[in-house]
């Protein structure tokens, strides 16, 4: 009997049950809409058929709706991490579970696609989403190649077959020290290699038929890689370049200008030093606000005030962890950005509406407004505070159960002595 229960609950944990969108009214909370309505004290959020039906102070609770009393609570959109390895890694140092990079492959791997490796049944998804993160960008890491490949935007209710939101969402490349290392030891060599790849992609795009006839010069990339780069050289697909040193960011900006690329800077430790150029070029920065160690000679300008300085200068900033297991701590990172000068609203925006715009999904995500997907979190306090937890997490209108492998371990070992021996506890 016990075995049966365990099996059933395991199935629940893995999310194989069919969750149904219900009608829910979240009443009485402080609602941060991130939209034109701003913050509403004592507001109501109505969720129906997976979408936000209404938000406001005088919104009627639909008949039959489940009512959640959010008095004294805080309601926000679900949060988004703009650079993760979620689904690509289960245990970082266990190679068989790590699909973040093609680290044996020294070709360009522009056609590498994270979607091929994402395990949507990873235990990291429940662990991450019960803490209020409902969407994420999954990015490849650089292997041996300057161009790592293609990333995707995903929903974190990964038990749904339509978990994949946007793919490809971006192309990823590295410059700076890492890029130099990949290209033979100099930053100039990395730029040369990257230009070579972009030139080839442009030439191929204009001469596909000739290429297929064998009537073009040799390219440094394979056909699939050249295809993958087409939307990049057309300026349609963002090229996310991981780069930290101010001068390297300037070099990336020059490259983007020369090739009309849609550039996004990731990492950007010293991006605050080139804020003006970033604003002028309308290039957003994906930032980890906690990364303040001068841990390399390209990161000497790292500072906890980077987020505040960029925001003040008018640079578009979205937050990222670049992590998998610790994605849930992105709230803490945002809280520290506030502690070091960023306005609170801007920090919450860097986890919601700003990434929504960067990733082109703001038509249905990023704010609490009627008609948008019901990614809604009810927090027991300030969402950026380290002692706060979500009490309810809705993704596309469905409440996520507070059930993870970690909570089960906790409950199994809460009482070390007990009638039921540990191995028989659920």
């Amino acid at each position: 009997m016990r075995g049966g229960t365990t099996l059933l609950s395991t199935l629940l944990l893995l999310g194989t049950t069919v969750a149904r969108a219900e009608t829910v009214a979240i009443v009485g909370g402080t609602v941060h809409t991130l939209g034109p309505a701003g913050t509403i004290e004592g507001g109501t959020v109505v969720i129906e058929e997976g979408t936000v039906r209404a938000v406001g102070r005088d919104v009627a609770v639909p008949p039959g709706a489940r009512k959640i009393d959010a008095t004294g609570k805080v309601v926000t959109p679900g949060l988004m991490d703009s650079m993760t390895r979620l689904g690509l890694v289960e245990v970082s140092q266990v190679e068989g579970t790590n699909d973040t990079r093609a680290n044996q492959d020294d070709r360009f791997t522009a056609a590498f696609d994270v979607v091929d490796g994402i395990n949507r049944r990873s235990i990291l998804f429940p662990i991450t989403r019960i803490e209020g993160v409902t969407r994420a960008v999954v990015a490849p890491q650089p292997g041996k190649s300057l161009i790592a490949g293609r990333g995707a935007v995903i929903h974190l209710d990964t038990e749904r077959d339509d978990w994949l939101l946007s793919s490809p969402a971006a192309m990823y490349a590295v410059l700076g020290e890492t890029g130099a290392g990949r290209a033979g030891g100099a930053r100039g060599a990395a730029m040369l290699r990257l230009r070579e790849a972009l030139q080839d992609a442009l030439d191929y795009g204009a001469n596909r038929a000739a290429f297929d006839r064998g009537d073009r010069r040799p390219y440094v990339l394979s056909r699939l890689d050249l295809e993958a780069l087409q939307p990049v050289v057309k300026g349609e697909l963002p090229l996310v370049v991981s780069v930290d040193r101010a001068s390297d960011i300037e070099a990336a900006l020059r490259l983007a200008r020369d090739y009309h690329l849609k550039l996004i800077v990731a990492g950007g430790r010293e991006s605050w030093m080139v804020a003006r150029q970033l604003v002028e070029a309308k290039v957003p920065v994906l930032l980890d606000p906690l990364a303040n160690l001068p841990e390399s000679f390209e990161a000497l300008g790292s500072t906890l005030e980077a987020a505040a300085r960029l925001d003040k200068a008018g640079v578009t900033v979205a937050f990222m962890t670049g992590d998998a297991h610790d994605v849930r701590n992105i709230k803490q990172a945002a809280g520290n950005a506030v502690s070091y000068g960023m306005p609170w609203d801007a920090a919450l925006a860097a986890l919601t509406i700003v990434p929504a715009r960067i990733w082109g999904i703001d038509d249905h995500y990023g704010t609490l407004e009627a008609g948008k997907d019901a990614d809604v979190v009810v927090w027991d306090g300030d969402p950026l505070e380290v002692t706060s937890y979500p009490e309810h997490v809705f993704i596309r209108g469905v409440e996520i159960p507070q059930d993870t492998r970690q909570l089960r371990l906790r409950d199994r070992y809460k009482e070390l002595s007990g009638e039921v021996p540990v191995p028989y506890r659920p």
């Binding site: 245990v91 970082s92 266990v94 303040n292 160690l293 001068p294 841990e295 380290v386 371990l409 906790r410």
Partner: protein, 474 residues
């Protein structure tokens, strides 16, 4: 103020007491002429910076001795905590700080730091934390790698850290001596060495040693059983060495001809542990493995002060408490390797919850050390979420008095009690909030860091002039 000039010399007698206690007559029964360390050398040359009598008033005071005092005061005098209470009078010429709305705690102590041995920038030239050339390197001392100009040191200070244990890495089964430092930049490790603090020995089990040697160097250990075997061999050899000295001592005492044994730097440290002078800090993740290491400790007659990282400590919280072993833990780091797969957010709270449990929140990270208060806050919140009635006055112990216990310095620092070192932090608000920052940090009564006064913010030589006027954090 003139009395301040005496201040630097206060540390000296303590340090001498320690050295002499290491070589007292009582010890001679076991140690005899056997050297432990050259007397007077490598000793602490730390001198507190000048201080003025300071009265902090109107604060919420967490003493880490169990108390929370609203509207509390702390009086710092002659480098010590002179008094803690509600209504303290300010003696003449005392600096009075109105800390209304602020919180005061003991200085934060990190039981697991690699600052100075793994400095920033992380270049190979400065990477000195693992002597990964042999699985047993009890002869190396972290202080001999320690770079006092590591720009990460002032960052930790801005996070309220007043003392930290600098350990060698975990590549080796026995990685070498660790050193406790005061977070006051000096010209050498000795200049920062916590006066009177015992040494610690870094030990490691699990994945790191077996990977470093078995996978990467093709030699033992390559398995967990190889780890334990290598560790036991080292201790057995230490016992042989002790025996050699005992035989020598017996012959000498009997007036017989005896040749003095060769010095063995490695064994001197191992016997320091068996003599109870050096504490054992054991890197270990898995519950079953910690239980094995307790067996090894019992076999050779030493005590483990703390298991470090101990991601599965919650599974054996009762055993750890019964054996008087602390667990130095992360709040929520997990999944980066197999032995961290079962880590849970409630680990700290569950270890703390066991009767006589000793939970520590540590960093093992130049990032984490900057906000151990936040890490403790997350651990506290996780405990509350599972129904434990944890208060700030409970959780503060995880980053103050409990690490002080594990480092053997709890009689000198770690709580706000009269007579202890005046290692104190004034926080802008509740330290268990992401929005609170260390406004002022006092070490031995001296104002070492003041967030509102750039002149009171130390900067390492390395950081000087690199970025011009508007640089990074360091």
């Amino acid at each position: 103020m003139s009395a301040r000039s005496f201040q630097p010399f206060l540390a000296l007698p303590i340090c001498l007491v320690f050295l002499s206690s290491a070589l007292t007559a009582a010890d001679k029964k076991t140690a005899g002429d056997r050297p432990f360390e050259p007397p007077g050398l490598y000793a602490s040359t730390y001198k507190p910076l000048p201080s003025r009598p300071t009265l902090i008033t109107n604060a919420t005071v967490l003493t880490a001795a169990g108390e929370r005092i609203e509207g509390g005061s702390v009086l710092l005098r002659d480098g010590k905590i002179a008094a803690v209470g509600r209504q303290l009078a300010a003696p003449a010429s005392t600096v009075v700080i109105d800390a209304h709305g602020k919180w005061v705690t003991p200085g934060i102590i990190d039981a697991h730091s690699h600052l100075g041995v793994y400095p920033s920038p992380e270049v190979d030239a400065n990477s000195d934390g693992n002597e990964a050339t042999d699985p047993v390197t009890a002869d190396v001392w972290a202080e001999h790698s320690f770079w006092p100009q590591d720009p990460q040191i002032p960052l930790a200070l801005a996070g309220g850290v007043t003392s930290q244990l600098i350990l060698p890495g975990s590549a080796n089964l026995i990685g070498g001596r660790s050193v406790t430092i005061k977070n006051v930049i000096g010209r050498s490790a000795e200049d920062m060495k916590f006066p009177g603090a015992p040494y610690s020995l870094k030990m490691a089990c699990g994945e790191n040693p077996k990977r470093t040697y078995g996978d990467e160097k093709g030699r033992a250990p390559s398995t967990r059983m190889g780890n334990i075997a290598g560790t036991r061999k080292a201790w057995a050899e230490a016992l042989d060495y002790r025996h050699e000295w005992e035989e020598y001592q017996q012959k000498k005492d009997a007036g017989k001809d005896a040749s003095i044994p060769d010095r063995d730097i490695e064994k001197e440290t191992l016997l320091g542990v068996l003599d109870g002078k050096i504490l054992v800090q054991n890197h270990c993740y898995r519950a079953d493995e910690m239980l094995e290491m307790i067996q090894v400790a019992k076999e050779f007659g030493y005590k483990i002060a703390a298991f470090h990282h101990a991601t599965e400590a919650y599974k054996i919280a009762d055993v750890l408490a019964d054996n008087g072993i602390c667990a130095a833990l992360w709040a929520d780091s997990w999944g980066f390797k197999m032995e961290a797969f079962d880590a849970i957010r409630e680990n700290v709270a569950l270890v703390d919850h066991a009767k006589n449990g000793c939970a520590i929140v540590h960093s093992d990270s130049a990032l984490g050390i900057q906000r151990l208060n936040q890490e403790a806050a997350k651990a506290m919140a996780a405990g509350r979420r599972m129904g434990f009635p944890l208060r700030e006055e409970d959780a503060i112990r995880w980053i103050t008095i409990n690490p002080a216990k594990a480092l053997g310095i709890a009689d000198q620092t770690g709580s706000l009690e009269a007579g202890k070192m005046a290692d104190v932090v004034i926080w802008s608000g509740n330290p268990f909030s992401v929005y609170s920052k260390a406004d002022q940090v006092y070490i031995d009564g001296a104002l070492i860091f003041d967030r509102s006064d750039p002149a009171r913010q130390p900067m390492t030589d390395f950081s000087l002039g690199i970025l011009g006027a508007s640089g990074g954090d360091q």
